[in-house]
Each structure stands twice: as C-alpha cells, then as structure tokens.
Symmetry: C2
Subunit: 574 residues, 2 copies
C-alpha cells in the first residue's frame, strides 16, 4: 500500500515537488507539469501526460530524445485542460506541439480542449492517442492506452529530436501506435494514498487477465500460473492480436506494475524471449523494468511494437530522461571480451587408488550423506524458520543445496572407485561450491578436512581415526568461522560433540554408543543457544525477536548428529 505521505489529498503535488527538486538540473516545473530544459535546435514539442501514480509515466520521460514536457494530473486522474495548455505553451519551440496520452475519456476531453485553445492562438497542435491494450476492446481505436504509451512516446520523442517537422512526427507516432499491442495481467490491486482499503483487489492466488492500470475490468480471472505458463499466455495473446503485415522485428517491453520485482521480471523475460524467438521474431532492444506503473499494484504487462525501418531507428535512438537513459555507444568503446576464464575452476583430478578398507568406508560415507540429505530435506522449512528469527532465513535452503551437491559428487566419486578420503574431499568441495552462504563454506571446508585426515591408503580404520576426522571437521569450522563456545553458533554444539565422542571412544566404549552420547550432548547444547543473551554480531537485537529461538546452524548440526546415530551400528563402527 501507499504509506509515505503528509496530506493524502496533496500526494500528487507533494511528490511532484520532490521530483522537481531532484531533477532541477534538467527539468523546469511549470504550472501543470514539467518541461525539459531546451537543448540544441528548436524541435517539435512532444507533450505527454495523464494522471499521477504511473511513474515513470509521465514526468520521468521528459528529456533529450523523449518527451519535451509532461502534464501531471492528480492520482489516477486526467490533468485539466488548463494544465495541458500551460505545459504545452511552455514546451512549444515554434515548430508545433504533439499532445499524446493514453485513451481515456477524461484525457481525451482535457487534451482536446487545450488543443482547441492552443490552435486559436495559432499553434499547430496534433493529437496522438495511444490505444495498445488488446484486452480492453476488440476495435483498435476503442482500446485503452497502457504500457504502449512508452513505445509511442519514445518514437515521437526520437522523431522530434531527429528534426522532423510536425507532419513527420505525427505520422511516426501514429505508425507507432498502429504497430503496438499490450496485454496486462494483475496479481493484486493498489491503494490510493490515505485510503484504508485497496481501490480494487485480485483474489489471492489468482491472476486478472487484461485488468486495466486503474483496475478497469479485464477479460477473466484465472489461477495464478507458473512463470513459463504466464509467459506463454502473454505471448500468445499478443501474437493473436498482431497488426496486419507486422513483419518480423519487434521491440518488447516487459513492464512491472508496482510490487512485482525486477528479479521476477528477469525470470519471466527469460521465457518470453525464447517464445518470441521460437515464433520467428527478432527482438530489438527489449526493455524490462518499471515503465508505466500503477502505484503498488502487483502485475506485469508485455508490449510488442512491430518495427519497420523508421520505427526501429526511433526505438533504438539515444535518450536521457530521469527514468530512461539509453546510449548506443557506451562511455568507452566496447573492446573484446575480458580474458576467457572460469574453465579452470573445476580442476579434474584423477581419483587416487583406494584400499578395500577405504572403499568400504567410502560406501559408508555415501550412506551417511544419503541420511543427511533425507534429514535436511525433511527439516528445510523448520531450519529456515528459526534462521529467520535472527538471521536471513536461508539456512534450510543452503543446507539442502549443499548436501544435495555433496551427495551427487560423492556418488560420482564412489562410482569412480574413490576411497572415503577422496570422496569426502570431493563432497566438501561440491558443498562449498553450490551451497553458498556461511553454512556452505563451513560445512564444505569441514567435510574436506575430515576427508583429508583419513587418507585412502590404509588397510584398516580404527575408531580413533573417526575421532580424528571429527576433530579435523571441527577445527576447520573454528578456523574459518572464528566463533568460540558461547557465541551461539554451530560451534556451541559441535565442540562438545567432538569432546564427548573422543571421551567415549577413549574410555573404550563402542563407537555407536559414544556417537549416540555425543549426539545427545549436541542436541542439548543446540537447545541452549536459545537464551536471553544477544547473539554474536547482532548488535542491539529486538529482544522479542531473538529470544527463545535456538541458532539454526547449531540446530541443523544436532539434527544430523542425532540422525546419523540411527545408522546401522555396523556402518558407524564399520
């Protein structure tokens, strides 16, 4: 929802004041909107406009190679005729004015009245109305204008900057509109500043196909699909509505409406791009981002402008506005690639020969990793939840990614004839490489160290060797993490575990019994990380957020130690 405002009724004016302050070096505020500081030769003025709440439409598009001026109405409301008149007068450079806006009744009237008034003063005024929303009407000239505004404005701005006369600019703009189609989908509604409930809503888990940017009715609601299905739905909708003789080159816009994030747009673009190419289309300078928004609405729209040579030239042209900047030649010329690299990251080692004992232990290690993977998959959500209390909630996912990679590497090593030492090193490297995060580094290094401590040339392994492996495991973690007991980390459970295991084996007990006793200690110590004292490195915690929840790393370690105690006794004891 919209949360930042003073008097909600003054939202549009207040946000525009801040906007003008920010871009005072490039834009000038005039009654009703903003105009670009003039640059170079006089050109046809391109004046865009509409309601507020759609940033960067409309004021964010004023600048070199784009709009000359923007008229800024109240939130979701057409500007008045007087505002249009004022901005157009300020933007006019003696070569005429093109007024351009999305097709809504209020905008048509207000811009129309202003045009008549300007014409009475002898100014040559043309109107280019954008009608790109294929969901809003079957007749092309009745369609609403949505993200295709951007495409049409861009062409008009580039044509004016190229020095075309008003006939040429108008013609290019009309051609752009005739070649442009958009389909929008909404996942959630938006809330006007100060309102206590949304202007409209979309049922949770649903998608409103064709819903307008002010919540105008769409075609239908349906179940929210996976990203690749959404991409297919949008691409199909546009290709069905393609203009006659549209050709094979398209300028796409994948537009976020508000709360849909850039990462989601990129993800969707990955599929959209493929579908467009499969359809035989050539993608020209795709734009993915927030270009025509609707406050905090959740949703996306896909726009295609089918290009001819002229439209392609204007679409590709440079521009520099608050919200859109494009330069064909970057700051420095593009040279060759940086050195080819990255191929040496995974060095290929020949697997060293292993004794039968090392091979048998390798089989046990694969079994242990399988058990660990099962435990971590089963507890992924729980580990994420407790990590979310004082950390970033990634522990469960990180551990699962790590163990899956380690297990896969271990299986390959086993099939290749590896002993336990080599296998655990490969597993640790894979864990570290694929898990990421803190836990990934620690577990990867620890497994690798444990493996290194074993060596694959022995004819037998004694309990004491496994204790030494455990000590190598914990030493690696202490070295890297630099935490000590009491810091409320993994180390709080790990060190007492290793001590107890060593003591149990030292007293001559059976290895499985010593392991079970050590696992019980680990569980107890992991529980104890939930206490009132702040966790290391988390200064000034909110007491009510971090009290009573154990550390996620200590918890996952204790879980794994406990789970491995249930391996067949023979496996642990070998």
């Amino acid at each position: 929802m919209t949360r930042i405002f003073n008097d909600p009724a003054e939202f549009a004016e207040d946000q525009f004041t801040g906007f003008l302050d920010l871009y005072a070096d490039r834009l000038r505020g005039v009654p009703g909107g903003a105009v670009a500081l003039r640059s170079g030769e006089p050109q046809v003025a391109v004046v865009v406009g509409g309601g507020s709440g759609h940033y960067p439409a409309f004021a964010g598009l004023v600048g070199s190679g784009f709009a000359t001026g923007a008229v800024v109405g109240n939130v979701f409301t057409s500007p008045s005729a007087a505002q249009v008149y004022s901005v157009a007068k300020a933007a006019h450079q003696g070569r005429g004015v093109v007024l351009t806006f999305g097709n809504y009744a209020g905008d048509n009237m207000n811009f129309g009245i202003a045009a008549e008034r300007l014409r009475k003063e002898g100014i040559d005024v043309r109107i280019v109305v954008v009608t790109d929303d294929v969901a809003s009407a079957s007749e092309e000239d009745k369609r609403r204008g949505i993200a295709g505004d951007f495409s049409v404005f861009k062409v008009l701005g580039a044509a004016a900057a190229a020095g075309l006369d008003i006939d040429g600019v108008e013609r290019a703009g009309r051609a752009a509109n005739a070649a442009t189609r958009t389909i929008g989908v909404a996942f959630s509604g938006c809330t006007l500043p100060g309102a206590d409930r949304p202007l409209f809503t979309v049922p949770e888990g649903q998608l409103g196909l064709g819903l307008g940017i002010h919540g105008e009715p769409g075609i239908r609601d349906e179940q929210m699909p996976a990203a690749h299905e959404l991409a297919q739905l949008m691409v199909d909708s546009l290709l069905e509505a393609a203009p006659q003789g549209g050709g094979k080159r398209v300028a796409p816009i994948l537009n976020g409406l508000g709360t849909t994030k850039y990462e989601e747009l990129f993800l969707l673009w990955g599929t959209v791009a493929g579908l467009l190419r499969e359809a035989g289309l050539e993608v020209v300078d795709a734009e993915v981002g927030e270009l025509v928004t609707s406050l905090d609405m959740g949703g996306v729209s896909l726009t295609l402008m089918w290009l001819d040579d002229e439209l392609e030239t204007f679409w590709r042209a440079d521009a520099y506005t608050p919200a859109f900047r494009k330069q064909r030649a970057p700051v420095a010329a593009i040279g060759g690639f940086a050195q080819e690299s990255g191929d040496d990251v995974r060095e290929s080692h020949a697997i060293p020969e292993a004794t039968p004992a090392a091979r048998a232990l390798a089989g046990t290690a694969v079994g242990a990793l399988e058990t660990m993977a099962r435990i971590l998959h089963a507890n992924e959500a729980m580990l994420g939840d407790i990590d979310a209390v004082a950390g970033d909630g990634d522990h469960g996912r990180g551990m699962v990614k790590g163990v899956d990679a380690a297990l896969a590497a271990a299986r390959i090593a086993y099939d290749g004839g590896a002993g336990a030492a080599w296998l655990l090193q490969a597993a640790g490297q894979a864990w570290a490489e694929h898990a990421g995060g803190t836990s990934g580094v620690l577990w990867g290094a620890a497994l690798e160290a444990a493996g290194r401590s074993l060596t694959d040339g022995r004819s037998a392994y004694a309990d004491q060797d496994f204790v030494a492996a455990g000590q190598a495991f914990s030493a690696a973690i202490v070295d890297l993490g630099r935490a000590t007991v009491g810091d409320k980390t993994l180390v709080d459970a790990l060190l007492p575990f290793v001590e107890e295991l060593a003591a149990g084996v030292g007293h001559g007990g059976a290895f499985p019994d010593a392991w079970r006793a050590a696992a019980a200690v680990a569980a107890e110590k992991a529980e104890a990380t939930a206490s009132l004292s702040p966790k290391l490195g988390r200064a000034r915690p909110l007491a009510e957020r971090s009290v009573g929840t154990p550390d996620a790393g200590a918890t996952s370690f204790a879980l794994l130690a406990g789970g491995l105690a249930d391996l067949p006794a023979g496996a642990l004891a070998l």
Copy 2:
C-alpha cells in the same frame, strides 16, 4: 509477495538467465556471475557481490564506470568461494582485483577464501567491506552493509575507470566506506520465492527503525509517522552518526526497498532535501530510486556519503550499467530555458457591472455551491467506491476538488461585485482547472455555459431563464462527452432532469416543485444505470464486477439535484 517463478529453488538461477539474455550486448555470464565486456585500457577489476534478491545490487551495477564483475549468490545467501573465484578470474585484466561486498559473515568468509586462492595464483587482491548501517552496531567496523554498498561500489568503479592503480582504488574505496552512513526503516516484510508466508513482518501501521535488508533486528518499532516526520527521523539519525570532519558536501541516496513506490520516494525526498540544506549541507547529485532492494519488502533507507574532492569526483563520474546510467553532458548540450510561459494561463478579467437582480442571483449561486460542496464532501468516499467498480475510483476526489475550487472562485467573484452569470463562469473555469479528470471538464464547462446563458444585465430573472440555464448546462455536457441516454453515464440522469424541469415550469407549476420532481426523476434514472448491460467504452467487462453498481457521475448528479431541492424555496424561486 514474490509470485513469478517456476521452481522456487531455482529462482536465483532463472532470473539471472533472463537478466543475461537481456543485457547480452554489454555483459557476459560466467560461472558464478557476470562480467562487463571489456572497454578501453586494462583497469583494476572491481568485483561486487552478494545474495540475489537485492537488484540492482549486484549484477545491475556491472558496466562502464562501475563494477567490472558481480558474483550472484542464491536468494539472500552469500555466493560460494568458488563463484567468487570464478568471477574474479574472468574480471581480472592484469592490474589486480578489488573484492567488495556488504559486511555479512557468509560474504566475509566466501570472498576471503576466494581471495586467498587468487593470491596463491599471483593475483593482487584487495578486500573492501561496506559497513554503513548505523542501526546495526555502534562500532563502525561491525556494522552491516546496506544501501551504502552503492556509494562505495560507485567510487571504486569510478576510481578504477579513471586508471588508478590497485593501491589508489583500494584507498578510494576505503575512504568512501569511512564517509558513508545509512539508516533504514521497514514498513513490511518480504517473502522468499515459493514461501507461503513472509520471512519476517512489521506490524501493520508500524515502522521498524534500523531493520536489516534480510529482516535482521533493528533498533525499535514505532508508530508509522507522516512523511515529514519520517524524513526528520532519518536525517537526524544520520547527522548524529556523521563521520569526524565530514565537511559540508554530501551525496545522498534515498533508496526504496521493494514495494515502496517512486512517487513516495519523491515525496519523501522533497522534505529530506530541505532538511539537509537547513543543516548547512550541500547536496551533490542525489539518487532517489531502487538501488539496493530486498525482494518485496516495504521500506526506505537514506544514505549520506560525506564528500571530499576525490570522492566527489568519483561520485559525479559517468557510468553506464543495466540499472544505473549517468552522463554529465546530456545527448545534446543544455541551452537556455524553453520560452518563459504559463503566466498567461489565468487571464485577469475586470468583473463586469451587474444589476441588483444579477447580484441577488449571485448570492443564491454561492449558497448553492456551498450546499454542493457540503454534499460532495460528505459523499466523497461513497462516490469513489462506486467509481472503483467500473472506473478508476477518482470520481469522489475529483468532484470535491472541483467544487472546492469553484466555491472559492465564486466567493472571490461575489466579493468583487459580480453577478450570477460572471460568477458561474468563473466557478466553472476554476472547477475545470483544478479538478482534472472527466467529471472536472464536464462540470466546469457546464457551469460556465449555464452562467453564460444568464447574463448580468437584466432587471429580473424568470423561471424560464433557469430552465434555459439548465439546458445550456446539459448541452455543454452532451457536446463534450458525446454520450447519449442509455450509455450509463451522467447524461442518463441529466437529460431527463432537464426535460422534467422544463415540463414542470412549462405547466405553470412552482419552480421548487418542478425542481423536486425533476430531482426525483434524476435519482431514479441514476439508479437505473446499475444494470446488466455493459457500460459504454468498457468492452468485455467482468460481469461480476460491474453489475448492480450505478454510474458514479449519474449518482453524484442526482445527489446534487436532490440536495439543491432542499434549499429554501425562496432561494430557488428567487
């Protein structure tokens, strides 16, 4: 929440695939991240990185004048050491590598391990850790890195692009970090892809001061303040934590965390800018937008980097990346202003002389506008709600803005000695100028037409004159709106009203009786606009959204007609 994905576990990889497709002309994907296509002379490589979910951090900042490469981890998770190594190798141009990232345990470890591995191969590697979050710790080197990442990376990137050696680049980066402070606030939590509930939340109507970008604990929760109080809170927090000897020039970043919209950021910036200047600071190239985000988290952060000459040079320098583009000299040189204009918008007319009858009628008109204003204020929310069903929900607000402006203009006209004709014309112009939207144009033009029909030179006004004014009112609306009866607009109520009024007066009835009868007809006809047939211009409406709700324009007209019937009979009959 995060809604667009295929397999949630593959979100980070999938979004990065789409990102690389989009920017394939400028970036190259390598295992673990992306590097810029090399431009110009070899330079020190600046490799940024961290978890996904923070776009444009980190991959969106790779390009000329900024980062050489970015390492991309899983969502909210440090990349692995192997990923860092891979990207750094690919980014290296023979002049050394600076690794730079926010201060989190996982990042410190993974980047640290990679640095050691690179150094073993003879590559000169430096590490610059960003520690800008003043809410996370009192000791500067323990602080987390948040939006100040952007400031420090920018300086490092510009220093490298300027050709400095690795000592110089590292020094500039450390100076940037020492000079940078950020305070963040959160309004709402964020949801990991595929999760069925948020990673963390902020109680509705509250603000989490200092909450981290992964939901790490902040300083305290408090009531959500007005925008100007929020600005004060953030500016005060930073000025208290200013670096020693920081000087008077600052580079601010007002950063949106996810669902906070650009308009809200501009509004907040309007106050922040003023407070900084009041504190005697000079604002240098402020950036307002989404620069370091946190999925769909609601919130903002304010960063200040205190500048010396070197930092100012690097902060101001050109850059061109997917998400950040800056050019000191725009595409064409900035010339003078566009022609000064806008001053002639409000022409000043001398108020023509009015007869006593015209003056008396003017008093009645002011009273009628007062009644209308009262009715519209009382019904603003209701009118917005019914407009939200098939329109954009702005009808209530637009009518209130219009009538307030009209009433203010009418009072000034009355105090200036105007008659009813001139007064209504002034009121209509003010309504049209200030209301915006469709209804603003229509009501403004209609009042103006009604006024014009009266003239201020008469010695008396007859009932028939008011009927004629009503006919002029409705003719203006029909002319402009081009709707006819049955289109389910204002016209459905207006034309029958005027017909009934004319008939009542024609049959010799008392004017107040005729008006009341006409108002009853208007109410009935307004109700009837709620029906099963689609509204004009709304193709393919969702039946369940628009059925049973009357048109907002017809409703407000009927309300006003009914309310004016309750004026003292003498006032209407004059």
